[in-house]
Structures are given as structure tokens and as C-alpha cells.
């Protein structure tokens, strides 16, 4: 059992509890246990693109140095990597990690702040998204072997969003034609439905003050998937999940008729397939309740 230093990200304790609990349960089953960093702080998403705003770089670097300390407390084979579930954390931490490794006076300025808290970052670690661990360290064949009840009947349209692939330094797969979610879904026994808008931005933080933007993006994304026969979406970012999930409920009220597509986190799908107790999914937090679809496909009997 290899243990990884795991950085949850600010949403994984509140409305994305299902994402975290299923991830930890699944990681244990696949002998790559995610161990939470004791005192982690917010990664500071969406990372600033300005070059002169050093204050915004303190949070991510502090996360990295706290994770590095946490790694030392874990066992020997724990690699020098922090694993994250949320794509926004993945993008932010990777950009900053790369930035401070190449620009030492920026690192010095940030370290000067962290010195007093004894949390200097020594550039000796990498940032990985859990999907990368699943693909590179565990491998889809192992995942397929551990599948207890294959997700027959589920037609999943993978939705990467933008932060898993952008910018180039943070991409976990090919920027224009990624395949990691496709392989994962297939290894769980579900059917993959390709959609052209697999990385069309969901509107991200515009949901706060310009939600009409998010509505049009969500309509495009969901319609493209539905037109191609998908009956669900899989995502890796709590904000995309909220935007697509919640706005579909609002749109359903405005334009009744079309059945909304439930939105799953990729670890929830794995939990269903690997027979992890159903309650860990916290489907009650979803705005579009996925239970009817699962019951219809006979997949909700996932109790072990």
C-alpha cells in the first residue's frame, strides 16, 4: 500500500464531500491510499497571471511546503508528490511549482514570508492529479480487475473542463485530444460518448455575478452530450460539477421537457464500480439526483 500526501482543496469538505470520500475509499482499494495533509490551506485558485503580485503566490507555495513536511511523516515509498483531486488546485499548484523552480528570486520573496512560520519551500517535489496516479502508477488494467459491478448501461460523456489541460505546464494529458477519462470510464465497464465540447469552459467563477454566461455554456455542453446519446457526465472539478449540476436544475425549471443529465465525479463512478458503500457518494448533495438513473440501470445496489 503506497500512501500519498493528499491535498483536498477547499470544496472537498463542504458540497463535494462525495468526491473526497469516494476518492479515499477507492484509493484504499487500489492500494494507493490518499492521506490528507493535516493543516492545509486554500491553494489560491484561480492562480494570478500577473507577474508582480507576489502576495497571491504565498498560498500555493505554503501548500507545497506543508505537503512536503507531511510527506516526511509518511512512509518510505511515498513519492515526493502532492496529489490533488480538484482540477483547479492541479492547475494552480503546478503553475506555481514550475514558476518558483525557474524564477528563484520569486521563490526567495515568497520564502521570506514563509520563513517566520518555518515553512520554506525547497523546490523538491511535484504536483500530481489523482487521474495521473490512476493512469501512470496504478494502470487501467488493475482498475478493471478490481471492478465488482461494471457500470453497464451508463453512457458517460467525459468533460475535462479547462484546468485539467491548461496551461501547457499543468496539462495532465494531450492538450487538444486527452484520453485519460475515456480510458478510465471504459475500464469501469461504462460506455464512452465523445462530445466536441469536452473542454469548453463551464463559465467557472462567473456563476457568482454573471450566471447567464454559465447558463449558455451549460446548455451547449449538456446538449452536445445528450445529442450523442450520453445519459451522464463525468467531471473532475467541484466548480464545473456545481455549475453544470445546479444550472441544469434552474434551466429545467425555465425550459421543462428535456431530462437533465446527472453529473458524476470520476471517483464516484469508480466507487460504484468497485463496490464502495453507496452512502459515501453523498448523492444527496447533487442537484440533479442520479439515483433514479442508477436504480433504472440496477447499479444502485452498490452496498458491500
Amino acid at each position: 500500500m503506497v500512501r500519498y500526501s493528499y491535498f483536498p482543496g477547499c470544496n472537498l469538505k463542504t458540497n463535494a464531500k462525495g468526491f473526497e470520500e469516494t476518492a479515499i475509499a477507492v484509493s484504499k482499494k487500489l492500494s494507493a491510499e490518499l492521506v490528507e495533509i493535516p493543516n492545509w490551506n486554500c491553494c489560491g485558485t484561480v492562480h494570478t497571471l500577473s507577474t508582480d503580485n507576489m502576495m497571491r503566490r504565498i498560498a500555493p507555495v505554503r501548500v507545497l511546503s506543508r505537503s512536503r513536511k507531511h510527506i516526511d511523516t509518511l512512509d518510505e515509498e511515498t513519492p515526493n508528490e502532492v496529489v490533488t483531486l480538484c482540477s483547479m488546485c492541479n492547475s494552480t499548484l503546478k503553475i506555481v511549482n514550475d514558476e518558483v523552480k525557474h524564477d528563484h528570486d520569486k521563490l526567495e520573496k515568497v520564502n521570506y514570508q514563509l520563513e517566520e512560520d518555518d515553512e520554506i519551500y525547497k523546490e523538491d517535489m511535484e504536483v500530481k492529479h489523482f487521474l495521473e496516479i490512476l493512469r501512470d502508477k496504478i494502470g487501467f488494467e488493475n482498475i478493471a480487475k478490481n471492478v465488482v459491478n461494471p457500470l453497464k448501461g451508463l453512457k458517460i460523456s467525459p468533460y475535462y473542463g479547462c484546468m485539467l489541460l491548461h496551461p501547457d505546464k499543468a496539462a495532465i494529458d494531450d492538450v487538444e485530444m486527452p484520453s485519460v477519462l475515456e480510458y478510465l470510464v471504459e475500464s469501469l465497464g461504462a460506455e464512452v460518448v465523445d462530445s466536441p465540447f469536452f473542454k469548453l469552459c463551464c463559465g467557472s467563477y462567473q456563476i457568482v455575478d454573471e450566471d447567464r454566461i454559465v447558463d449558455s455554456q451549460v446548455t451547449k455542453i449538456v446538449e452536445a452530450a445528450r445529442k450523442r446519446g450520453a445519459n451522464a457526465l463525468v467531471v473532475a472539478c467541484p466548480l464545473c460539477a456545481y455549475n453544470i449540476d445546479h444550472q441544469q436544475k434552474i434551466l429545467k425549471e425555465k425550459v421543462p421537457g428535456k431530462l437533465p443529465l446527472p453529473v458524476f465525479y470520476f471517483t464516484q463512478l469508480m466507487a460504484l464500480a468497485l463496490g464502495v458503500p453507496l452512502k459515501l457518494n453523498h448523492f444527496e448533495d447533487h442537484h440533479i439526483n442520479p439515483k433514479p438513473l442508477l436504480k433504472e440501470l440496477g447499479l444502485s445496489g452498490g452496498k458491500k
Binding site: 494531450d174 487538444e176 485530444m177 466536441p196
Partner: protein, 655 residues
């Protein structure tokens, strides 16, 4: 020993910051100086006469000219000395213009510097030895590598001048990329119609030896005396006997992709790339054929009337000597599989410019009708994307390939001619029509054929149902644009071909950052390379259109002929010379020589065989790296021996 010193004013160029009269006076006290004169323009005829008269009357042994850089007038003053029977290498030129007057403002400092340089030169000049220019024989045969339009033109020009020429072509037929084109801009002549006459000339020309299916694998020797090894792969069909009756094709069981038609059409294992191919003969593709050795099927041979098929053909190595070589290995189009945003080449209806050429051409897979590769229907809306992967330093080609705007306009125009009710939309950044009649061609496409030009680069292409969704922009109206098209043609740029990389390595010719071969001088020596005797023609040095390629090829041919026309070549006198008694065969000089003109040879010295450095004077460029590298001074560059240079340095040091 009598030395004549001549100081040039060069108008005010030198006289402006150097007191020429002063240094002339001082020069008189320098050792062995017989005469010291000043003249306004030494390089002018009266200036030269001045020196000639002094050589004669004063029987001068050495001449020192203080003027501009030797690169400007060394040949001029050497001719002056030769004219009066003096060995041209006893001339010493001191640069007091670029190195003194142009870089100093203070008259006093300028004069001081000029004087000390002049002193050094006089001291060195006294140590100079007369040298002879070596003569080397010339082989009057030319080698042209690459059978595209550039190679064809160069070979024809050389052959017409009477020189035996070997044209080597890697594929089964000459014609290159031009043979794959349908029409050519801006005149819309059919490409085959203007190319095949030249190809036939090549096959019929007595002075041209055409080697198809061949590759140059090794070249050594030097200008005038290149030894080349050419590997000719077997055609398995005897060219003379084959009557192109096509009977063999019907019986051949193997079907594979036809590279000539960009993989859109099938061909058999035995085939001819296109009817007008030269050499006009079929061939068997060994990889596709079920088995030649051991023989598996042989249906083709059984049905071949003139018995032209011979399975026992073996690859042969041809060795020949050549006076000069022309590299004309052409280009490849940038693969659309590299561009992620446009689908990595996985979307069937997104094709490259060359693919569209094949669709357009009547000999092509669709017989000249524009059909969609996915379902064979006629596309009603076709989008042409300019600069696909060009002008894109971030991931693809940083440069502009000159011809894509024109061939995309031609494609749009041809499409409108064939599908009148269709819509052709060109997404462009800048329309570049820099050739003759190019702008008129572009106007015609827009005015007469109503091709729609939208200024903006396409960001992404999706397969949306059976049509292609294009996410583009119209920067002139300031709106993003989304539209569905039935067919998308990507106008990709040119990249150096595989052959270009190989030949550059073989002939150690230098390559630019984009992989194209670097000319000796981009403006003044466009067809020469750093290696004398090796010339380049066509798109090997960078993107060109057909007119430019042809004139470039003719230029290369004339430059190559410049060498072939001479009986012998003169080699500069200032080459490296080995003092065999001092050489201990360490090989440091051989490694240091950028032109690998030095090799170690076994020499019998007092009964022992020792390795001693040997300089191939024809290859030596007189750069002096070997002299600098040699630890015990065994090798020296004539005209710049260590003793001369040390004397010059010590003279500069004196007060």
C-alpha cells in the same frame, strides 16, 4: 630586400582620422623600406600604376598597402604584383579603414594606431615567402541529387551546356511534388502539361543519365574531384522492355495505398505512379509484393507479354566521379497530424492542400470531381484555412511559406469552377501575393468567382454529426464566427524533406534553424554553399514557388558549370603545409579541420612506419585552425606562418 609602402587616403574615409602624410614619413625609417608614398585612391588605376612604376624602377621585393580591408582589394593588388612579375603572395595589406579610421574619431590616436599597424606589417612583409597557386584537375561530370522540377531544370541546363550529368531520384519517377499538382497559379496551366515535356527531354537527353529509385549514400573528395557512391534499388521491371500495357496490374492480388494520390486511391504491388512517369516503366514495390525472394505469386510475370519482369534484379552500387554537385532534394508539406486544434488529422473531411490537389486533378482518385473523403458527396461549403501551422513559433513553423495564400486561392477558385453553387470561404491572416500577376489572380478569385475571404485564424475544428463545425473569427467585423462546412482544406507550409537532411549530413553542408540548407550568402551567393563545388537549387534552401525554383535551378546549373568548364582549378596558395619531420601523428589537426581536409597517412621513416598528417590542398580553405591546434608547430599555414605572426606582434609591441 626592398619594401614599397603605399598609403591610401580613400577620399576622407582614412584621411579623415589618420594623418596619412605623417605615417608615410614615419614609414621611411622602418627596416628595408625603400619607398613610402601616399595617394588619394590606391585601388584606382593611377594608384596601381604608381606601384607598378616603383616595382620596375626600384626593383622592389615586397609591397605593403595600407588601405581598406583585404577582403575588398586583395585580388586587385595581387594582380598588380603579378603584372610586374612579382609573386602575388608577397603583398601585405594593412586595414587602416575598418579597423582604424572608421572606429576612431581622434586624429592623434588614429595616426598612432595606423603607424604601429604599418610597422608590424612591414616587419612581417620582410619575412614573407613567394608561394605558387596549385592546379587541380577537374572532372567534367555533374551530379544532380533530386528529380523534382529544380533537379530536372538544373540537369537539362547542364546537359544543354554539353556536360554529362547524372540525375538521381529516390522515388520511382522524377517530377517531384509538381507532378502531384493539378493546375499551377497564377496562369492555371495544367501542371502535368508544362512538366512532362521537360521530363521527356530528361529521358531523351544524351548527356543525362537518369537513376531513379536511387540514393546517394556516400560522397568524398573535393571540388572538381568528388567521388560519389549511389545505391540503385531494383525495379524488378526491365525499363526498356516494359510497354506500359497495364496487363500486370489486373492480375496482381495485392492492393495498397497509392502515395502519389496521398493515400486516397488504391494501387497494386506492381504499378506506375502516374501515366506520364519518367522513367516510363512499371515497378514492383518490394514491401507490398507478396514475396519476391522467395518468389510467392509471380502472376504479373506470367501475364507480361514482353517478359519485362525480372525478379532477380539486385540493388547495385554505382561509383562515379563528378566535378560539381547540385542538391535539389525539395520539400515536404507540414503534416496536418501535428496540429491538435484541427483534429490531429483524425477528422476524415479535414485534408491538406496536397490532398485537395489530388482531388482536383483528373488523374486523381476522384477523377477531378470534388468529393468528400468521408462519404463521397459533393461538398456545398468548403473552408480553406490559411497559415495552418505556419507563422506559429509557439508550436509549429515560425516562418511563412510564401505559396500557401496563392495555392489556397487557386483551390478556392478551382472549387468554384467545379461546383458553381458551392461556397468557398478562406480564413486568412494576411493575403500575400508577392509574385507577378499574383495580386490579379487573387482579385479574380474574389471578384469573378466570389470566393469569400474572412480575416481571422480558425481556432478549432470539430466533427459535428457528418459536418465540421469551425470556430473562427472575423477580426474586421470584430465578431467570432461559427459555421458548419462539408470539407476543410488546411493550407500547410513547407518543411525540408528527409532527403535534404540526409544530403546535408553527407556533404556536411550547414543547415539553418528551420532545417533548410544555409546558402553561402543569402543575398549575394544564393545557390552556393560553404563547401565549394556543392550547389543548391529550389526549395532545399527555403520555400519557393515554381518560377523562383526554376530560375534558382538555372542559377545553380550555371554556377556548377563554372567549375566544369575549366580544365583545372587553381587552389589558393595560402594552404596548410605539414613539416613531416616534426609531426608525431597525434591527429589534433585532423580533428580541428572544419573541412576534414587533413588525414593521417602511414609514412616509412628510417624503417619505421609512422602516422603523419597529410593535407589535401584542394579541400583546405586556409582557415589556420590546424596551425593553431598543432602542439609542436609541425603544421603551418603558408603566408601566415608562426614566425611571421610573432614578428608582427612584437613589432606592434615596440614603442
Amino acid at each position: 630586400m626592398k619594401i614599397g609602402v603605399y598609403i591610401c587616403e580613400c577620399g576622407s574615409n582614412i584621411a579623415g582620422t589618420v594623418d596619412v602624410e605623417e605615417i608615410a614619413e614615419r614609414a621611411k625609417e622602418f627596416p628595408n623600406v625603400e619607398v613610402s608614398r601616399v595617394y588619394k585612391y590606391m585601388c584606382s588605376d593611377p594608384g596601381q600604376e604608381l606601384i607598378k612604376k616603383d616595382i620596375e624602377e626600384k626593383e622592389l621585393d615586397r609591397v605593403v598597402v595600407a588601405a581598406c580591408s583585404p577582403r575588398m582589394h586583395e585580388p586587385t593588388f595581387r594582380a598588380v604584383l603579378e603584372d610586374k612579375g612579382l609573386n602575388p603572395y608577397v603583398l601585405e595589406i594593412v586595414n587602416i579603414r575598418e579597423q582604424v579610421s572608421w572606429v576612431h574619431e581622434d586624429m592623434k590616436e588614429g595616426t598612432e594606431k595606423a603607424t604601429s599597424l604599418l610597422k608590424g606589417a612591414v616587419v612581417r612583409s620582410s619575412l614573407m615567402q613567394p608561394l605558387e597557386r596549385k592546379k587541380v584537375g577537374v572532372n567534367h561530370k555533374a551530379l544532380v541529387i533530386g528529380g523534382g522540377i529544380a533537379g530536372i531544370q538544373a540537369a537539362l541546363d547542364l546537359a544543354d551546356m554539353g556536360f554529362k550529368t547524372t540525375l538521381v531520384e529516390k522515388t520511382s519517377s522524377i517530377g517531384g511534388k509538381m507532378a502531384q499538382l493539378d493546375k499551377t497559379f497564377p496562369t492555371l496551366d495544367c501542371s502535368q502539361c508544362i512538366l512532362s515535356p521537360k521530363m521527356v527531354d530528361v529521358s531523351r537527353h544524351p548527356n543525362i543519365e537518369l537513376l531513379a529509385l536511387s540514393e546517394v549514400i556516400e560522397v568524398d573528395g573535393y571540388v572538381g574531384n568528388f567521388k560519389a557512391k549511389i545505391k540503385k534499388s531494383p525495379r524488378y521491371v526491365i525499363e526498356e522492355k516494359c510497354t506500359l500495357c497495364d496487363d500486370c496490374v489486373d492480375v496482381c492480388p495485392v492492393i495498397t495505398h497509392d502515395e502519389y494520390n496521398q493515400g486516397f486511391a488504391p494501387r497494386k504491388a506492381i504499378y506506375i505512379s502516374y501515366p506520364q512517369a519518367i522513367p516510363a516503366s512499371y515497378l514492383i514495390d518490394p514491401d507490398a509484393c507478396l514475396g519476391i525472394d522467395p518468389l510467392i505469386c509471380a502472376k504479373c510475370r506470367d501475364v507480361c507479354g514482353p517478359e519485362a519482369i525480372d525478379f532477380d534484379m539486385q540493388p547495385e552500387i554505382i561509383e562515379e566521379e563528378y566535378g560539381s554537385i547540385i542538391i535539389a532534394t525539395g520539400y515536404e508539406t507540414y503534416p496536418i497530424e501535428n496540429i491538435g486544434e484541427y483534429g490531429y488529422g483524425t477528422i476524415p473531411d479535414v485534408i491538406s492542400g496536397l490532398d485537395f490537389e489530388r482531388l482536383l486533378s483528373s488523374g486523381g482518385p476522384t477523377g477531378g470531381k470534388i468529393l468528400r473523403p468521408s462519404d463521397g458527396t459533393i461538398p456545398k461549403t468548403v473552408v480553406f484555412v490559411h497559415c495552418a501551422g505556419s507563422r506559429d513559433p509557439s508550436k509549429h513553423l515560425p516562418y511563412c511559406s510564401k505559396i500557401c495564400c496563392m495555392y489556397s486561392t487557386k483551390h478556392a477558385l478551382m472549387y468554384k469552377h467545379l461546383v458553381h453553387d458551392g461556397t468557398a470561404i478562406n480564413f486568412y491572416i494576411d493575403i500575400r501575393t508577392a509574385g507577378k500577376d499574383y495580386e490579379e489572380f487573387y482579385q479574380r478569385a474574389a471578384e469573378e468567382d466570389h470566393v469569400v475571404y474572412i480575416r481571422g485564424k480558425v481556432s478549432e475544428l470539430f466533427q459535428d454529426g457528418d459536418r465540421i463545425l469551425i470556430k473562427g473569427v472575423d477580426t474586421l467585423s470584430g465578431e467570432t464566427v461559427e459555421l458548419h462546412a462539408d470539407l476543410v482544406v488546411l493550407a500547410t507550409g513547407m518543411i525540408p524533406s528527409e532527403g535534404t537532411k540526409k544530403m546535408a549530413n553527407l556533404l556536411n553542408v550547414s543547415i539553418g534553424i528551420n532545417g533548410f540548407i544555409r546558402e553561402a550568402h543569402p543575398k549575394l551567393k544564393p545557390v552556393d554553399t560553404a563547401i565549394s563545388g556543392v550547389f543548391v537549387a529550389g526549395t532545399v534552401t527555403g520555400p519557393k514557388d515554381i518560377p523562383e525554383t526554376v530560375s534558382n535551378a538555372s542559377g545553380a546549373a550555371s554556377r556548377a558549370a563554372g567549375i566544369l568548364a575549366q580544365d583545372e582549378l587553381e587552389i589558393e596558395g595560402t594552404v596548410a603545409k605539414v613539416e613531416e619531420s616534426l609531426c608525431r601523428g597525434c591527429g589534433l589537426c585532423a580533428e580541428a579541420c572544419p573541412y576534414n581536409a587533413i588525414e593521417l597517412k602511414a609514412v616509412n621513416r628510417y624503417g619505421h612506419t609512422l602516422q603523419v598528417a597529410f593535407v589535401n590542398e584542394a579541400l583546405c580553405k586556409g582557415c589556420g585552425s590546424c596551425a593553431a591546434a598543432c602542439l609542436n608547430g609541425a603544421i603551418n599555414q603558408l603566408g601566415y606562418t608562426d614566425s611571421q605572426i610573432l614578428a608582427l606582434i612584437s613589432a606592434l609591441g615596440e614603442e
